[in-house]
């Protein structure tokens, strides 16, 4: 059967393999960072500050301004970064997409309510939101994640709503309605799969964005303990050393790049596998 084989070959596509391998390797390395580099991420060695990479086998990626092993920190740094990156994006997607679906599908009052709320949210500069947010709820990792969700759901909501507005006039949605399919099923079974493409794109990209944002919150007081390594934090620390010690920021940047690359490959694959029309065209 033609479709069988093409579906199989899709699983075997380069995108999927590469994406999975990257993501799995990164996640495993991060999960087992303690085993790979016991205590290495925190060990300060003021005698070996800013050692160059690829010269000392003890520090293959060089050391940071406190003489810590950049490699160990990059690996360990994924814990916070991935946690924040993933959870905040997932939270924002779930909430935002839901709101967008409701606003776009029901229109009228709900649309007005959700979208004006979105306007409110959009008009609020991020730092202001962050500062007032901490002032009210205090700073912690959970709150960082909540803050990111609060500040980002609107993107998804508006994106989804826009697409729903066109889709809901399409005949296949009408025919689902004609059958008597319940609203929530129309929303989740028919609208969602047909508009998820851009959402997946935005989602995979926002993971990177949020990993970076997490660090920028540090100086607002929402950040976490600087001894706990995170990619964004390392990049921020490396800021003053850009001209003198590039490796401090380039390696965490590469880590983010590879993660996002892996995610995007998976995201593209997911998008493609949700889109049957592209299937035979390869």
């Amino acid at each position: 059967m033609a479709t069988r084989t093409s579906r199989l070959s899709r699983f075997a596509s380069l995108e999927f393999i590469l994406g999975t391998v990257l993501t799995v390797v990164i996640c495993l390395a991060v999960l087992f960072s303690d085993v790979l580099f016991p205590g290495g991420a925190e060990k300060i060695n003021l005698m070996a500050r800013l050692a160059k990479p690829f010269t000392n086998p003890a520090f293959p990626f060089g050391t940071d301004p406190l003489g810590r092993d950049v490699l160990a920190r990059v690996v360990a740094g994924g814990k916070i970064s991935l946690l924040v990156g993933f959870t905040s994006v997932i939270g924002a997607v779930i909430f935002g997409v839901l709101m967008g679906l409701i606003a776009g599908y029901y229109r009228g009052f709900w649309d007005m309510l959700v979208m004006r709320f979105a306007d409110l949210q959009l008009a609020m500069p991020f730092i202001l939101l962050a500062i007032t947010f901490i002032a009210i709820v205090g700073g912690s990792l959970t709150n960082t994640i909540i803050l990111l969700i609060v500040s980002q759901w609107v993107q998804y909501a508006r994106l989804v709503r826009g697409s729903v507005l066109t889709l809901r006039e399409r005949e296949f949605i009408l025919s689902a309605r004609a059958i008597g399919v319940k609203d929530w099923r129309i929303i989740f079974q028919h609208l969602l799969p047909n508009l998820i493409g851009p959402v997946i794109v935005l989602m995979t990209l926002n993971v990177a964005n949020n990993i970076l944002l997490e660090s920028s919150l540090t100086f607002l007081g929402l950040g976490v303990d600087p001894t706990i390594p995170s990619w964004g934090g390392m990049l921020a620390d490396g800021r003053t050393y850009l001209q003198t010690a590039w490796w401090v920021s380039v390696f965490p940047g590469l880590a983010i790049l590879l993660t996002v690359l892996g995610l995007n490959l998976l995201g593209d694959w997911l998008r493609d596998s949700l889109d049957p029309t592209g299937r035979t065209s390869r």
């Binding site: 406190l66 500062i131 007081g221 950040g223 303990d225």
Partner: protein, 482 residues
């Protein structure tokens, strides 16, 4: 002749002397305004617009002989009336709107003796007043100009007697000055000066590297970027000890740090010399009390607790602090240096069995809420830069009970010591008591003293005759550019 461009990290928003405490204000305004006295880079108080002065009434009256023939930039004469106007404005309604007034409350009234003689009548003697007259709120302002053009106009169109005249100001962008060729101290060598407000260190340094800025003033250049400037043959770093000191203070009321021996143990556990050498790249000096070596009241003989991890462990054991005890260090999140230092300290503490976590805060939150409300962890960062270079300014605020920055400690002896030195005009006597304050604070281990950071200037070598002021008060009349 020649133009010099200077990068300063902040726009104070108003050029009116009564409005602000920012050193970035002084970095500009020292060139526009003069005070009765002047304090240069050597920190000695010398005559300014007053040629001489004397103390009368046991220090409760100061009589100033004013310089003659001085004119404001708008052509108005400088005289006793201008001095009277200046201080009455500072202590009156206009001054009430700004923070500067609180520095000058010792002044009771201003009396004109003759056109060029003026008396400041004091409520009580203020030993630091002459220093204060050299800066900020005490800058002499033109009465007629202000009366004619109004107060609001003065904020953004300052007029003084200084070496440079105001030309233009664009908020958040720049302020431009030009030479005042009639300056009483002699015409400046530069014809124009432009200050650009550049908040981002990397940007300021890039502008310096690109040759579009001649001087970057503190607090801008982070330690980590010093090698960048040193590596550029056209540029150099000039650094002098500054007014700013950093310490991690203790919560002396609750938790393990309520015990003085624990506090001492923590101090002994940290190798500050290494921190200064490595993290601060030598751009700072260790301190023993919460003041710099330049400060009045500094005690060169006071000895710090030695770096002694073994001793620290013993003290901790004796105090019953178990290995693995945790404590929290609160710091300002945007202070990159302290970020690193705190991490190193945390690692030193871990060697004596204390697990320290670090909690960064937004600056305003920590200074306005966390510290005053006593919501800090066991240790918290305090950064202080008394521009008067007088230990009283620091010590009173930090150690006197009930003060905003002193949420935890109450000590009668300390309060008495602090109060007793305030009215003294006898410098030696006061200095003795201030040294005592410093020693007593060290004995009680009220803080983990860290370092006094240098004021770091990045400068283009084409600038000649620049002497780095520790207090950021640039006076550019002797400076020239190639």
């Amino acid at each position: 002749a020649g133009k010099m461009t200077i990068s300063t990290p902040q726009d104070p928003g108003s050029w009116d002397p009564v409005d602000t405490f920012l050193t970035q204000w002084a970095a500009v305004s020292t060139n526009i305004f003069d005070g009765l006295t002047y304090r240069g880079p050597d920190l000695k108080v010398v005559p300014g617009l007053a040629e001489s002065w004397e103390e009368l009434d046991e220090g409760k009256r100061l009589r100033f002989k004013l310089r003659q023939g001085v004119k404001f930039h708008d052509g108005e004469d400088f005289n006793a009336a201008a001095v009277k106007f200046t201080f009455e404005r500072l202590l009156g309604d206009q001054g009430a709107k700004g923070p500067q007034r609180s520095n000058y409350t010792a002044i009771d009234s201003v009396e004109i003796v003759d056109d060029y003689t003026v008396d400041l009548k004091l409520k009580a003697p203020d030993p630091v007043l002459l220093t204060k007259l050299a800066g900020y709120g005490a800058m002499i302002v033109p009465p007629k100009y202000i009366a004619e053009k109004g107060e609001d106009n003065f904020n953004t169109n300052p007029v003084g007697t200084g070496a440079f005249k105001f030309v233009s100001y664009q908020p958040k962008v720049n302020i431009k000055l030009e030479a005042n060729t009639d300056y009483w101290g002699g015409a400046p060598k530069l014809s124009e000066v432009e200050y650009r407000f550049i908040a981002e260190p990397a940007t300021a340094v890039a502008e310096l590297q690109a040759g579009r800025v001649d001087l970057v003033i503190p607090p801008t250049i982070p330690i980590g970027m010093i090698p960048v400037i040193e590596g550029d043959s056209k540029l150099e770093i000039v650094s002098v000890p500054g007014p700013t000191v950093d310490a991690l203070r203790f919560n002396t009321r609750d938790g393990i740090t309520a015990d003085v021996n624990v506090r001492k143990a923590i101090i002994m556990a940290v190798d500050r010399a290494t921190i200064v050498q490595s993290i601060l790249a030598g751009q700072a000096s260790e301190i023993v009390s919460f003041q710099s070596a330049l400060s009045f009241g500094y005690d060169a003989d006071l000895k710090a607790l030695p770096y002694d991890p073994e001793g620290a462990k013993k003290l901790l054991a004796a105090a019953g602090v178990k290995a693995g005890t945790t404590l929290q260090i609160d710091i300002r999140g945007n202070d990159a240096t302290m970020n690193e230092v705190a991490q190193v300290i945390s690692s030193y503490l871990s060697m004596v069995g204390i697990t320290a976590t670090i909690k960064p805060y937004e600056t305003n939150v920590i200074t306005n809420d966390i510290i005053p409300q006593g919501k800090t962890g066991a240790m918290f960062q305090q950064k202080w830069g008394g521009w008067t270079f007088d230990f009283d300014n620091t010590a009173y605020a930090m150690y006197h009970s009930g003060e905003k920055w002193n949420p935890y400690d109450k000590d009668e002896k300390m309060d008495k010591l602090l109060e007793s030195q305030r009215p003294l005009t006898d410098r030696a006597e006061r200095e003795k008591i201030l040294k005592e304050v410093g020693a007593y604070a060290a004995e009680r281990a009220l803080e983990l003293p860290l370092y006094n950071t240098n004021a770091i200037f990045g400068i283009n070598k084409r600038v000649k005759g620049f002497i780095a002021p520790p207090d950021n008060r640039l006076k550019l009349n002797e400076v020239s550019v190639d």
